[in-house]
Symmetry: C2
Subunit: 513 residues, 2 copies
Amino acid sequence: MSKTEASSGAAGNKDYQRLVELLAEVTALRQSGGLLFWDQQTYMPRAGARARGNHLATLSKVAHEKFTAPEIGRLLERLRDWEETLPYDSDEASTIRVARREYEKATRLPPDLVVRHSRARTRAHEAWIEARQKNDYKVFRPALGEMVDIMREVADALGYEDHPLDALLDQQEPGMKTADMEKLFGELRQGLVPLVRAIAEKADAVDDSFLHQPFDRETQMEVCREAAGAIGFDLETRGRIDLSVHPFTIGFSRSDVRFTIRIDEGFFNAGFFASLHEAGHGTYMQGLPERFEQSILHEGASSGLHESQSRLWENIVGRSRAFWEFYYPRLQKGFPEQLGKVSREDFYRAVNKVEPSFIRVEADEVTYNLHIMVRFELEKAVFDRELGLDDLPGAWNEKFRDYLGITPPDDLRGCLQDIHWTFGFGGGFAGYTIGNVASVQLYEKALEEHPGLEEEFARGEFSSLLRWMNENVHAHGAKFEPQELLQRVTGRPLDAGPYLAYIKRKFSDIYGL
Amino acid sequence: MSKTEASSGAAGNKDYQRLVELLAEVTALRQSGGLLFWDQQTYMPRAGARARGNHLATLSKVAHEKFTAPEIGRLLERLRDWEETLPYDSDEASTIRVARREYEKATRLPPDLVVRHSRARTRAHEAWIEARQKNDYKVFRPALGEMVDIMREVADALGYEDHPLDALLDQQEPGMKTADMEKLFGELRQGLVPLVRAIAEKADAVDDSFLHQPFDRETQMEVCREAAGAIGFDLETRGRIDLSVHPFTIGFSRSDVRFTIRIDEGFFNAGFFASLHEAGHGTYMQGLPERFEQSILHEGASSGLHESQSRLWENIVGRSRAFWEFYYPRLQKGFPEQLGKVSREDFYRAVNKVEPSFIRVEADEVTYNLHIMVRFELEKAVFDRELGLDDLPGAWNEKFRDYLGITPPDDLRGCLQDIHWTFGFGGGFAGYTIGNVASVQLYEKALEEHPGLEEEFARGEFSSLLRWMNENVHAHGAKFEPQELLQRVTGRPLDAGPYLAYIKRKFSDIYGL
């Protein structure tokens, strides 16, 4: 943060003070809703769901009412002249700019639509849980239909120039367009599909059978805690880890950031890498500046930028030789029977095994973006009315065959796997691919400034990298759009080049291509 | 519930429908705040306190704004004529009546005072925690001073005829006056102080040393869960138990009711009887009618009536010979070393040992109300400016000497023990004594209708009693003021007679007086 960013005589501007006060209320209502969501996923008694749905709908509605209050509109208008006198990247100009952008979007959504969306989420969540229990997409189909209709309404209300998905994508990734994503996916498809095929021919070069054996729950949990703490997620006073069906991270302030994981007692990766992944998200939230605490800037730049932090720690760090140089001896102590006789290099190769698989969250780095591509293309086809929801599972499976060469045997391992379509439909997955691509771009910049990072990892030191991310990414909160931030920090907008080069380099080495 | 209570053609009244809709929002905001509080006491990372304070203050403020909105005032005015046509105890008349009573109180409180009160709570909570860690009242003193000043303002804003405490008491116990409480305490003092003295002379007649030995945490937790489940608290789908520093019960709907306990590994009673106590509160919340779920009636009649349910299950049931006929063999199985050689009768006597002690929540039935009397008299003295806050610990200790014959050795075992003064100051303890007295009144009525209750307890059957409370107390939610409810159910207002007779009977037997 430069000196100019922090202070611009805001105390003197009463309109600005009032805006900040009103936005703090909205932030508090949203963060309260966040806690209700966290509790719903972790500790809520089963029968509490219906009332919780009402509570969440009310909080959404009231936050929306407060944020779209005419007073905020008037303040934003009156602040235009003052804003022009401020540095673009100052807290004040950024608060006004981000508030205006979000206000303009929010005022386009009728309150009634916001409430219907919130209730549809609750219903979709229940239907999704039941559909998963019954392994039957048809159980989820009606709630999904309702969600798609609502998201069409949302897109229409928000407005767009080229494609309805642009409106939804913009809510996750301000400034990104459907066409940008299609271009990005095109480059990735071109680079990755041949690589997946080349690796498939050498499938036996990596053995990961020892990762699929009993690993007891308590030791896994300890190891997850230890590793999350080691990379710098503060579990002592500002964070916690719990269990839930679907891992996620949520923060109610930089001083209360929580993530959840799911432990699989028969597969090591599921818990451990989810933990590093979510801890990565957690470092972003814990790294937000204290002065933003009640501010509208107390967020990441976008879902994709958030994901860049989780994928950084999960993959670039967590699946590196250097990380395991540090951590493998400790892990072996925790699981002497399972890993005592496995060499560190064999372990490193195993956690990087590339294998077309059905479940996104367990996918390797090479195939991961193909999972996202499937979802993105299906969402677009539904929006373009080229695909009806009854045909969604079939279309899902067909794309899996095309890109990954495998066919999901059922909906649980197909289109029912993600929680995302219980929140909305359209644009919700793009951030994963943006995150993968951005993670390498940011890491390479950090490496340029700290060439010794990998030696540090090998010694269990992660603070140089974390501090770099704190200073270059986290410190800005939601000030900048994702492309702006990448441009400022790395000198380039989002670029698939470094990512594809990293993937090719790493996996050519592992698979001897 | 009689037929007339449920239906009065409400669907036809649009003003009523609108009122119900607006009240549902307020209820949702309050219940959301409840979850934030629960989390603060159970799982929140330490550093999350400040942001949590902001969130709670915002939820209070917004709930207050919504509840005091002029539209609610107009609707309540317009509904007067319709209300007159309805049976007094119908859902509709009761909703309007309770909403009007609460609206009139709430509109007297300036929003700014509500926010200051909420923030003062958070500060007082932090100061109280720190004061307890340091065992030093002086650390709590400034926050308590702020709280007392705020409560004076609250009392003045609410208005009162005779005494400022009336205004505060009325918030907990609608319709009760300070003078009523003084009369009640007078009767209790007269009956209890001589009894405490008579028992003190026979102090050695009951040995409870075996309750003070190591009882491991996990087994205690299991036993607490089992007993709470046995009396009818639904832990399967609608409730849960967690640990916290100060036990409490809270519900976010009848389908999500949670209580906390504190396990003392060196003393059996602390966890077990807290569990029965809180489970008793829990049965009230779980017993509220489903149709009240988002209604302003989705509450107990008062703190005191709530306490009547917790004391019922903790003491009248949980400390009865019949209960232990059922449960003692199970408890012995859980703690064979500790209790294998202790007879059931000796155990029954031990859990009823009367011994003047410092900590209210661990006090026996005979001395308990004296603990409350101390607090009530001190609060009154502070309000009457007869006692300054600097002198509070001294005055506390002096009253302990007078009523209980013992002097607290420090503030932790004196005036720092309760969490209540972090919420407010004045009237917050009266409910405990009202609850003790009402519990016997209600139980004797239930016994009149089901003379075989004790035989049922001995067989581990508690459903007749629970159902009686469901139908006679819980089914009304917040429809009636506490005195009205007691009058309707037992044919009399609150009456110390049955309570004193019960205490004398029970303890004369145990102590052979």
